[in-house]
Amino acid sequence: MARAIKIRTSIKDGVATVRCILRHPMETGFRIDPESNQLVPAHYIEQVFCHHNDELVLQCDWSRAVSKNPYLSFSFSGANAGDTIRISWRDNLGEENSSSVVMR
């Protein structure tokens, strides 16, 4: 199975830039399945948490209108090579996922 969260990081002058893609359908609940002609139930990420080592640096509260397989990029200061970035999410059905990388 492909990894559910892809994370890329770079550090320049102590400022880290994080780019990530979270694999998720992000169904709005408005879409009609062309095969069954039924509405596809809403299924979307509600919250994303980004931790630098053990410190929360970014919290994202999302609606269903963030695109499918969401892309997110942000940057913060005080980062060093060897530090850990952890991205975790939770969706409206209670599913969760998280992934971490060591910055180089």
Binding site: V57, Q59, S63, A65, S67, L72, S75, F76, S77
Partner: protein, 153 residues
């Protein structure tokens, strides 16, 4: 002499309290619950009211919304928010003509740069609004986006 000593002590205490308070503020960033009512509002003014109760928002030129003026596919609209405002607590994104205008609310730690990039869905040609909470005050900027094919279906 005694008075001077007292004043000095007072000044040192004051400084300690100040640094203590600011370091507390800097570490006071903890996860919070998602504001569900704000996300379910169908009207942008109501959504903003629910997200920032009783607060006024003023237009600012210090917020930059990076988005194409004309988008072919509304399901994937790349969006970048940059700002030169200091001490940003949060960045919110709203699309006025979407069924629920509030798209995303980002809470930033004091260490974060004033920058967020993501991709959103835009149903109809619409005004996109970014609201930034800086030093306890709210600022906003707007950009109009033309969409050829809506992205919420």
């Amino acid at each position: 002499m005694q008075r001077r000593g007292f004043l000095k002590t007072l000044a040192v205490c004051g400084a300690l309290v100040l640094t203590g308070a600011s370091s507390l503020l800097r570490t006071a960033f903890a996860a919070t619950k998602r504001n569900k009512p704000a996300f379910s509002k169908a009207d942008q003014v109501e959504a903003l009211d629910s997200l920032f109760p009783g607060r006024t928002i003023e237009p600012s030129s210090a917020i930059d919304i990076g988005v194409h003026d004309l988008v072919e596919n509304g399901a994937v609209v790349p969006l970048k928010i940059n700002s030169t405002l200091p001490a940003i607590d949060s960045i919110s994104i709203l699309v006025e003509k979407n069924p629920n205008p509030l798209i995303a609310h980002f809470k930033l730690s004091p260490r974060c740069q004033a920058f967020i990039a993501t991709r959103i869905k835009v149903q109809n040609p619409s005004m996109i609004t970014a609201v930034v909470d800086s030093e306890g005050r709210l600022y906003s900027a707007q950009r109009f986006v033309e969409v050829i094919e809506g992205g919420c279906g």
